[in-house]
């Protein structure tokens, strides 16, 4: 299909109609509603499948290390050891998770770890709809096991009052996922 060049009429050339059409478009846009979302007072809610910050569940994790294998940049550090534990009256050899750290500052949120996780429901998932991970300290972005499970999901730096912060969990240290 050959694209044709537009053929201007006599009127277009002399009355500068092409320029006026452009002016007409801009003035029409002036009166359209604007799509700007005024962050941080208004926020866009990400989609359900949005790949944001991790959440981890120690109880569901079976320490299979498939997520660490699947990660393209090897930022999941897992240490396990075997233990003999009493399960239903019999001594069974179980894997116990010692260390489950994620270096979030190098993460690209590709969700390959979530895909690789074999448990149902998944033990690591990214659909927490949190993208505000900015931090003033580089070390804040290295999350160990407890932090991954219990991080506070509202960043502290906006200066807005924290009405929807989750309640304090008894006995667990609340570690913020952002600036303290």
């Amino acid at each position: 299909m050959q694209v044709e060049h537009p053929k201007p009429r006599w009127a277009d050339r002399f009355l500068l109609l092409d320029l006026f059409e452009g002016l007409k478009t801009t003035v029409r846009e002036l009166f359209q509603p604007k799509v700007t979302v005024r962050y941080p007072e208004e926020r866009l809610e990400p989609a359900d499948r949005f790949r944001g910050m991790f959440r981890f569940s120690y109880d569901r994790c079976i320490a299979c290390k498939l997520c660490a294998q699947a990660c393209p940049i090897d930022i999941i550090y897992i240490d396990v050891h075997d233990e003999q534990r009493e399960v239903d009256g019999k001594m069974k050899k179980l894997k116990v998770l010692d260390r489950y750290d994620i270096d979030v500052k190098r993460c690209m949120f590709c969700a390959l770890c979530e895909e690789a996780c074999p448990t149902k429901p998944k033990s690591i998932w990214l659909t927490s709809k949190t993208y505000e991970l900015a931090s003033y300290d580089r070390n804040d972005l290295y999350f160990n096991m407890q932090e991954l499970e219990y991080w506070d999901d509202r960043p502290k730096y906006t200066g807005l009052p924290d009405e929807d912060a989750p309640a304090e969990i008894e006995g667990q240290k609340q570690i913020a996922g952002g600036h303290e």
């Binding site: 537009p6 109609l17 006026f20 059409e21 452009g22 002016l23 801009t26 003035v27 604007k34 005024r38």
Partner: protein
Amino acid sequence: MITQAALMKYLVWPLVKFLVAFLIVQVIVAAMNWVERRLLGLIQARLGPNRVGWHGLLQIVADPIKFLLKEDIVPSSSEKIAYFLGPMLPLIPAFIVFCLIPFGPGPMFLSARVNVALLLILALTSTGVYGIILGGWASNNKYSLMGGLRSAAQMVSYEVPFGLSIVGVLMICGSLDLVNIVNYQANNAWNLLPQIVAAFIFFVSMNAENNRTPFDLPEAESELVAGYHTEYSAMKFAFFMLAEYSSMLVNSCLMTILFLGGWTIAYDGHGLTTAKLISMGTFGALLGFAIFFAKVMFFMLVYIWFRATFPRFRFDQLMDLGWKWMIPLALGNIVVTGIFILIGQERLMYWIGLATIGAIFFYLSRKPAPSPTKTAHAHKVVHAS
């Protein structure tokens, strides 16, 4: 003998009027910064500055504070005297001209009534080029120099059509005095109609004089040459910007006075002529000023509208346009106007202008032709088999 009355009449009173006008102009120029950014944003499907103060109005205060407190970097190898003089030179003519422009009906709105006011204004605004050349050269930066020279060449080239387009108006009105031109328009009709080509040339030359899109190559960031004000920071840069906006305001005022009837809304002597406005006392004076202000603001908004809509010309195309199209067109306009005046058919020019404007609106109201990138089968859908 210098009497007290003469002193009052010729020195003190004009100075006071000029200072009042100057202050109002400075406020408008500062507000223009906000208007431009806000309007540009709203045209571009976004909000402009709207956080600092109510709808962003405190931005007008925040920007000068920023400029005053910023570090004033002076390149060590620049030519100091010229470097400091550079930003001030465009400001001087931009400010002086405001004592020659009448803002409303009556002697209270005009600091100095000169019977060759138009010529004087043209001469004064032309001297604004010096500051740019000096600023570009004194920066000791070959790109600034190139930018400055280009800008100067652009401004000087468009002075010619700027002046020639006014000749048509002069031929019709018969006077260089701005107040007389406005009164002539009140007695006939706006000069836009008989001199529509001249108005167009004048407007285009105005844009080129002020380095505004589509002629803003010297200021464009995305081109290689950075422009004459690269090496200036803080207040000196602000001076260049101030000079640009003041110059825009002066040109808008000129355009209203020459082509749109200034502070009058009248046809053939009926309506709000100068005499009628003066007879209405204070209210009439304020009304006249309000009308003038509205028209000037309209042109300032059109400046912004143009900036939002059009791409910019390349430099050689810009010079091409000025020398090969604007000047012959302006000369042709003078000849045609002369012919019409000679055969005594001045009124016919008004009808031709009206017909042109009518034709433009007529064509604009129709739907534009479909774009060449659409195909005839654009909407055929293949159904699932």
